[in-house]
């Protein structure tokens, strides 16, 4: 009677565990690394030890856990990953492979707004050519500014001349006169 009861409770426990696996979505699907030996801990295995200072230690089996609690150093035990790393076993191959990957070449591609030819042309331009181009551009701008200034001056002179003429005649043209320079200014800006 006692034995059958035990079996039922175990089954119950398993079922409950299964349900919680599905319901709680807490099932691990990745492997973790043992803090002591560096071995992979597959889901369902291992012991997790949480120290009072909130530091979590994962052990792949009770061997690692025992050694940890007995204050043995993994770097002194030949079979641990730490020892291998410290004594540089099997690292030479990895180092060579890593170095090969890190060489980068300057690669030119065409971008939206500037095709490959344009980029190459700009890159191959000599500094003197670039300076000459810059100077030409500046000169153009200066000429443009000068032109607009001259226009403005000319218009102002005209308006002043008009004012002097029409001041004797009456107030009506005065209404027109202040409008004149404003319009001229707007035109010049554009």
């Amino acid at each position: 009677m006692g034995a059958s009861r035990k079996r039922i409770t175990e089954q119950h426990r398993l079922e409950y565990k299964f349900l919680t696996l599905i319901e709680e979505w807490m099932y691990k699907v990745w492997t973790e690394l043992c803090r002591f030996s560096g071995a992979k801990i597959y889901p369902g295995k291992g012991i997790r030890f949480v120290r009072s200072d909130s530091q979590v230690f994962l052990f792949s089996n009770s061997k690692c856990k025992r050694y940890f609690h007995n204050r043995l150093k993994p770097s002194k035990l030949t079979w641990t990953a730490m020892y291998r790393k410290q004594h540089k076993k099997d690292i030479a191959q990895e180092a060579v492979r890593k170095r090969r990957r890190t060489t980068k070449k300057p690669y030119s591609r065409s971008i939206v707004g500037a095709t490959l030819e344009v980029i190459q042309k700009k890159r191959s331009e000599k500094p003197e050519v670039r300076d000459a181009a810059r100077e030409a551009a500046l000169r153009e701008i200066k000429e443009r500014i000068k032109k607009t200034k001259d226009e403005k001056k000319a218009k102002k002179a005209e308006v002043v001349a008009k004012q002097q003429k029409t001041q004797g005649k009456g107030n009506v043209p005065k209404g027109g006169a202040p409008k004149g320079p404003k319009l001229g200014g707007g035109g010049g800006k554009r």
Binding site: E24, I47, R48, S52, S54
Partner: protein, 158 residues
């Protein structure tokens, strides 16, 4: 802390630990073997990790558990040591939720968790924590036990 010899048991009570029997054999011989961690039972002294005023608490009765309380269970306890001005005084009978247990507890995914010490967060009859802060790490298991308030107060969830 890790070099204690022997087992931490009460007289008369058997060892109901989850460890396999082979480790027990080894324990008899070696000096550097750890404690055999068991349930939290009557007369277990636990640390209090909230700011309710109590410092040490002794378990009087584990609620729900023939052998004893585990991680995430509630216990009735008596305050043995308390801060001078706190919500809880010495000698008071309180309820507590075990937030850290030295005995390992199986997780849903099959792994086991164990903490460094036995600690408790004081709680009232309805399950609401008495303190306003919880110190130290706190396990996930509390969510399943519907002690969500303690989880929210906790600084670190293991």
């Amino acid at each position: 802390m890790y070099h204690k010899m022997g087992r931490s048991l009460m007289d008369g009570l058997q060892n109901f630990s989850n460890l396999p029997s082979t480790s027990r054999e080894m324990a008899c011989g070696s000096f550097l073997y750890q404690q055999q961690r068991t349930f939290i039972q009557m007369r277990t002294v636990l640390k209090v990790v909230d700011n309710s005023g109590a410092k040490k608490v002794m378990c009087i009765q584990p609620l729900k558990g023939k052998k004893g309380a585990r991680l995430g269970d509630t216990i009735i306890a008596s305050v043995k040591e308390a801060m001078p001005n706190g919500k809880v005084k010495k000698g008071k009978v309180v309820y507590g939720v075990v937030v850290r247990a030295a005995m390992q507890r199986g997780r849903c995914d099959g792994s086991e968790v164990k903490f460094d010490d036995n600690a408790v967060a004081l709680v009232d009859k309805q399950g609401q924590p008495i303190g306003t802060r919880v110190f130290g790490p706190v396990p996930h298991e509390l969510r399943q036990k519907k002690h969500v308030k303690i989880l929210t107060l906790a600084g670190h969830i293991a």
